[in-house]
Amino acid sequence: MLTAEEINEIEAEAVHYPKREAVSIDALKIVQRHRGWVSDESLRDIAGHLGMSPTDLDSVATFYNLIFRRPVGRHVIMVCDSVSCWIVGHDRVKKHLTERLGIEFGQTTSDDRFTLLPIVCLGCCDRAPAMMVGGDLHTDLDPQKIDIQLEKYK
């Protein structure tokens, strides 16, 4: 069941579009913001609310990389692995993060604190290497700076 708050937020976006299914991506993101990810049950509820088939909605949900169809940790780390970051030290950042967290890309730490994912160019190439933790951008990364920043996310 979608909550009243979720429904209100979805309807506030839906008025911006002439067709109901156009709000599907917003709806998925709204539910994900409240629940961390989009479960099969959430997907069916959203589809029902929008008058879409769950299959149609899942074809949309699985296309977009910022919509999570599997559970994620409390904080999702997205590490840029595009070319400018690669040139100035992405490999070092990647090695440090996987060693520190003890997980590979695509995995979540056993305490559900962090999920580690790759991301395309974050558009701050003059401050590379870069990553996002949740909605926060972190730039000019080195192992020390990563350690300091990650402590802020409990």
Binding site: H16, Y17, P18, K19, E21, A22, V23, S24, I25, D26, L28, K29, S59, V60, F63, Y64, N65, L66, I67, M78, D81, S82, V83, S84, W86, I87, V88, I119, V120, C121, L122, G123, C124, C125, D126, R127, A128, M132, G135, D136, L137
Partner: protein, 429 residues
Amino acid sequence: MTATTEKPLTGNMRPDGSGLDMPAYEQAGGYQAIRKVLTGGVTPQWVIDEVKSADLRGRGGAGFPTGLKWSFVPRGQSTPNPTYLVANADEMEPGTFKDRLLLERNPHQLIEGMIVAGFAIEADVAYIFLRGEYTLAAERISRAIAEAYERHYLGKNILGSGYSLELHLHLSGGRYICGDETALLNALEGKRANPRAKPPFPVVAGLFGKPTVVNNVETLSCVPHIINHGATWFRGLSRAKSGGTKLYGVSGKVKRPGLWELPMGTTVREILEEHAGGMRDGLKFRALLPGGSSTPFIVEEHLDMPMDFQEMPKAGSRMGTGTMIVLDDKTCPVGMTWNMIRFFARESCGFCTPCWSGLGWAERILQSMEEGRGKPDDLEKLAFQAKMWSPGNTFCALAPGAADPLESAMKYFRADFERHISEHRCPGR
């Protein structure tokens, strides 16, 4: 905005990194352009002619003349309703970081540009399609839209002119392909972002099947200044054939990576050496991609060429987004090419076969080369794949954009590729 400024797009930005809010933007001369077009007895055709005369080219990378694009929108009583305007703020081309600055630091400039553009094409509804990762931009754009509605610069009967425009922010769910304008329209419709076949072009049948103009953020941000100061002034800002200033950027191992607003047509060398400070100590320049990962490499002999839409093709490349990625002599060109082809392979929407199949294949070949498992016929295979990605074999420009760095890398760094194969290792490691 003062007429004397040589940096109309960035000259009024605050040095502390905060965004210009409504009072600050208005104090700097903002929202005068919409007064001129909406209450100055000006026609939409006049605005289109002025933008044409300014020779404003699309700053998203393609360089298509903006005024000409606007003129293709069907107008008058019998046209389909509504007409849409979309700002493409889905900045995701690797190496590109220019629209972020405009979105975060001067959101009202974009909104004013959209109101003027909307008036010119007689748009009823506008969207800003913003990539989901630009969270700070999302916050500032949302606030700026609310401020513009409060001042009645958006909504019904703007400034009593009879012109109405609704503007909404759409935060994307991700994926590079959404930057393609027809894929973007599918994403806005709540569908998978597969590009559409053209024709019909979006200006005739775009969002929800209605006439739609999609313009880049930097393009739209130029518009208020053209209206305020005129086409002649705008062309005068440029050292090249097309008008205006350009946000140029440099990333890679240079002394001062960054972003600068400079006259269109500034030479590659001036941007690289004077503004970015040249290479870091101990490193030599080897090549660069002029404007993102989808543009072909250029080398030393091209450095004195102007960075603009007309000149870069003479170096066998394109200006693209104008944000260059520099390759130094200690970074492996094969590894760099592998990185870029892996990006394109991952970001293929999976629709056209040469793209989804060929990019993955090429990526595996490049990986094997870099890991010392390259075979003598690999270069031939890569060349064949790149040819299969030629324009016309796929719906959109993703695969052709991947062919550009790959083919130019094999041209300029052939010996590096061959050494990877013959020595069974990456010589740089």
